[in-house]
Each structure stands twice: as C-alpha cells, then as structure tokens.
C-alpha cells in the first residue's frame, strides 16, 4: 500500500513536471496584457490537445496532491490515521470533480 502510494505520487509528479512547465510558460505569456475570459477560452475551446492536457493535469493532481497531504497530516497533525485517509480521499474527490468541471467549462 505505502509503496503503491509512493509510486503513484512519484509517477504523477513525473507527469506533472512537463505539464506545469508548459502551464507556467503559458501563464507568463498570457498575463502580458491582463487576463480576460475571452482570451483564455479562445485558446482552449474546441481544442482536443488542451483538453487532453488539462484533463491529464487534473487526473495527475488528483493522485499527486492528496497523497502528499496525507503524508503531511501524518507528520504534522495528531489526527487519527483513518481520519487522515478520509480527508485525503475528500481532497482527491474535490480535485477530481472541480477539476473535471473546470476542464469541461473551458473546452
């Protein structure tokens, strides 16, 4: 179990690496003239590549971040292991649902 979680977190990190790099580049490029909804949407709407891109991002974060939070809670809080697992799962759910909703919204 621990080993699976570890691997899942590292593999998702490896996937997130390039995604975040591109995303950062995009941010730096996009903020040049201030952000506008139209501009963002014009880029993403209808684009399969961007939907795959952000879809993958959401899925990876769903795996990656809750495992990390679980570690942190185990080390930095006195919450019981069971509660920690529930909290982590809740986070995963939030990332997944809100994330997929966001992807759906912008493509």
């Amino acid at each position: 179990m621990e080993r699976t979680l570890f691997l899942a977190q590292r593999i998702s990190a490896i996937i997130l690496g390039p995604l975040v790099l591109v995303h950062l580049g995009l941010i730096l490029f996009a903020v040049r003239n201030g952000l506008s909804g139209a501009e963002i949407l014009s880029r993403t709407q209808g684009s399969i590549s961007w939907s795959v891109f952000y879809g993958l991002f959401v899925l990876s974060v769903t795996v990656h971040a809750p495992i990390g939070l679980r570690n942190i809670l185990q080390e930095w809080s006195r919450i019981s292991p069971l509660t920690i697992n529930i909290v982590a799962l809740l986070f995963a759910l939030i990332f997944l649902l809100l994330g997929l909703r966001a992807v759906a919204a912008i493509v």
């Binding site: 790099l21 909804g37 974060v61 939070l69 990332f95």
Partner: protein, 115 residues
Amino acid sequence: MNPLRNHKSYLAAIGHRVSGIALALFLPFHFLLLGSALDGAQGLDRFLVYTDLTPVKVAEWGLVMMLSVHLFFGIRVLFLEFTRWPGHVNDLAGWVVPCCIAALFVGTVFVIQVL
C-alpha cells in the same frame, strides 16, 4: 536557529512542502473559478476583474512562485531519488540555490509581464 534545520537540504524540503500545501489549497478555488466559464466568458470575467487589484496581483505572483518553487524542488527530489552518480547527494544539495534562482526568475518574468 536549530542547527539541524539550518541547512539547504532541510530548507528545500520545507520549501517544497509549504509550496505543495499552498498549491493544494489554492487549486480547488482555481478550478472553481475556471468552472465558472460554464456560463461562457462572462462567468470568468466576473472573477477576472479582481486580478487588476494590487493585492490580488501580489497573491497571483505568490502562487506563480509557489508553483515554480514546487516544480523545481520537485524535479530535484526526483533526481535525488531516482538517479545516481558519484557524489550525487552532495551535488543535489548544490541544486537548491539554483532551484531557488530559477523560481525567482519565473517570478521576475511574471512581474515584468504584468507591469
């Protein structure tokens, strides 16, 4: 400062962790905001107007910094764990400052772009 904590590898781990927490807490809101585009660009713009406010700009900058810090430190961790060359642990302690510089660079570009 506690001598056990006053060195690069340790500070990098803490930096990586704090940025990770910040990102994880911010991301749901980010997704919420983007989700508002379900009603089209106007939905998004309702929120995006705030990005002109200076405090919001500073916060945005903070997030970009967090993201790049976490990214670069994360890459370092992956190298630390999954690669190997003679003396690599020492070398990777040497990466900490370059990682910070890279993150600062991203932050600076962001500032320049926004201004």
